[in-house]
Symmetry: C2
Subunit: 391 residues, 2 copies
């Protein structure tokens, strides 16, 4: 069969708040081939992705992504990697490409799973899937009191692990950060797994990050995530050397397999957290999971959007029994929650299971797409080169 269509749907809440909540909009990808439909999601800024899908060619290594996808043969699993290579070669100089490819790659795995009637993780080479322990992923409160209340609520809801990130953390004094961390620990109780996400707040400034080492050790954080941007390997490595029981985590900013590999080789991280919706889809994320195994690094999904994206993000490490922690966004906006008919809910043990249905096992809800669909039109060189597709 050949890929007949690739459509991007830009969805958005009516109002976007200036907070670190990635569930306020979405870029949904629909792929059609041989009577099957595959769905994916780019965890990316929608409009630049749409533009890169359809942009006029600049030169031989800067083509619109769509030209390397439409009309391609998709008969076997190997075709997915071949199409990915073609996209990266033909759109080498289009920086947005990896984010665009991500949703398309996910949709190809979903489609092939439906054709072969197997879950995506089986197509990726795993014999079976193991349950994951979700951590509730929330933003720090504006005050320590608010953070403590959030943590208590998470504990009461039955979660054994929680991650606090962004918000005021890292922007104020060392003492303010210490109070936030202490509040999180207090609310979560002594037994809870506490994870901390600095959201690249120190860019590559080792000195500012290292001032927080004592507070992080004191609250017994399991990991400190993204003290720096993904490229700051030297700063990561130095900070890793200063920590005692806390490990570093990072990788969501990686948009290629190689970037994630470098974090494992040179940054001293203990947890690699790539986003399948950014790094090039399930294909690249599985490569990362495989390499992490050889380096003794724990793979954790990065997910802050819909349950379609959540299912996609679990597939690449579904079969790794020892890597049990998974990110589970707890404060989804209605758009992200309503996007799928199915939801991945914790079982009575508080664990999450990747769907055993074909592909991703998630069905987008047409009513939700209509409700949040953003009308976009791009004209260039005298033609309409993109307008919001029909559902």
């Amino acid at each position: 069969m050949r890929i007949e269509s690739v459509d991007f749907f830009y969805l958005s809440m009516p109002e976007i708040l200036d907070i670190g909540d990635g569930s306020q909009d979405a870029l949904l990808v629909r792929l059609q081939a041989g009577g099957y439909t595959g769905w994916g999601e780019c965890e990316a800024s929608p409009l630049p992705c749409i533009a890169g899908l359809v942009a006029p060619m600049s030169h031989s290594a800067c083509k619109p992504v769509r030209t390397s996808v439409l009309g391609q043969r998709l008969d076997e699993i190997g075709d997915i990697a071949r199409i990915g290579r073609l996209v990266r070669e033909n759109s080498l100089d289009l920086l947005q490409t990896d984010h665009i490819l991500s949703g398309i790659d996910v949709a190809m795995w979903d489609l092939m799973g439906k054709k072969l009637e197997l879950p995506a993780y089986r197509l990726l080479g795993y014999e079976r899937a193991y349950p994951k322990t979700p951590y509730a992923s929330v933003l720090f409160g504006d005050t320590p009191q608010e953070t403590m209340e959030k943590a208590s609520h998470i504990r009461d809801a039955g979660y054994r692990a929680a991650k606090f990130g962004w918000g005021p953390f890292g922007k104020g004094t060392v003492q303010e950060d210490a109070e936030q961390l202490q509040a999180a620990r207090e609310g979560l109780g002594g037994e809870g797994i506490l994870l901390v996400d600095a959201g690249t707040i120190w860019y590559d400034d080792l000195a500012r990050a290292s001032q927080r080492v004592e507070a992080l050790e004191a609250c017994r954080a399991t990991w400190l995530e993204e003290p720096f941007v993904s490229g700051a390997l030297t700063a990561y490595k130095a900070l890793a050397g200063m920590l005692r029981s806390v490990r570093l985590a990072g990788g969501e900013g990686c948009h290629t397999y190689h970037m994630a590999q470098h974090m494992m080789d040179y940054a001293g991280i203990g947890y690699v957290q790539v986003d399948a919706g950014r790094i090039g889809g399930l294909s690249a994320a599985k490569q990362v999971a495989d390499y992490a195994q050889t380096r003794g690094v724990t793979y954790v999904n990065h997910t802050f959007t819909s349950h379609l994206a959540l299912s996609a993000s679990l597939q690449p490490f579904a079969g790794i029994r020892s890597d049990v922690i998974c990110e589970y966004p707890l404060e989804l906006k209605p758009l992200a929650w309503e996007l799928t008919q199915e939801h991945l809910l914790p079982d009575s043990n508080g664990q999450i299971h990747v769907p055993e249905a074909p592909g991703l096992g998630m069905t987008p809800e047409p009513g939700t797409i209509s409700k949040y669909l953003v009308d976009v039109e791009i004209r260039a060189k005298g033609e309409v080169i993109y307008s919001t597709p029909e559902i």
Copy 2:
């Protein structure tokens, strides 16, 4: 003064050919503040950059680039870095950001140079500029005969160095590549500096690249450029170990300072070739040049577009006396040639001089902009969020 406007102009030849010639279109940036106008160029796919400039916010770390630029204070040199940090922080999750920022950063240096009546390289900290030896940068011919004729023509035109790249190289057999390399050496003569650009053709496949080692050594190439994509540090390092007199060169794919740093730290390159129009402008390129000095790596500009971009690309290493080789595109399309009133032509010694005029010292030609201007309109959420600005 405050930044009053930031305008992107998408220029294109009427027809874009499917060849590795980056001069077929251009993304020109105009910045206005305090009665001064600065110009820059993004070496990037125009439409995704325009989209990223104006895209609706997705969340706090995924904002349109324009919001971090418009209205900002630009009173002193330090403001340029401050605005750059702001852009990268506010648009962290927008992958295209670094390419977008590049042209804006260049325009800020140009504008500040005009205000302070100094060439950009002086503002970057160099006391004086040294002449550079341009190499003629051309594509391999379709046949060895054609390549030999190109090389002879370059030698007859007075160039002491030539780089051949892309075209059929690396796509056929080892023997075909050897014949191309031999033809280039023959046309250039025994004394000419021969540079070879593989254009990432082997992605990260060490085996295929290593088969060309003997032919590269036999033709006495000074460097082999981009055998792999910028992220393939391990493959680079291994290939570097197999070469005897040939050195590796790379870096044009780097869109952050950190990526270039990693190539110097981990990939064993002898020449680092970043593009100021991709890596974040003069600011990031100067950081790369500084670091290269400490690592014994030679800095070489990457430039395949207009002389505005050429001037920008020379500024970051203008004051490094020992780094004399510079890329000089020889087959510019009319758009790229006609874009500026001034041109950087070789002197009687065959050397290139960075302009001593304020800023970049290059004046865009309004007639050229009008002639090649692409009409673009983007509508989203019921509004026109971009339309081609007035010149």
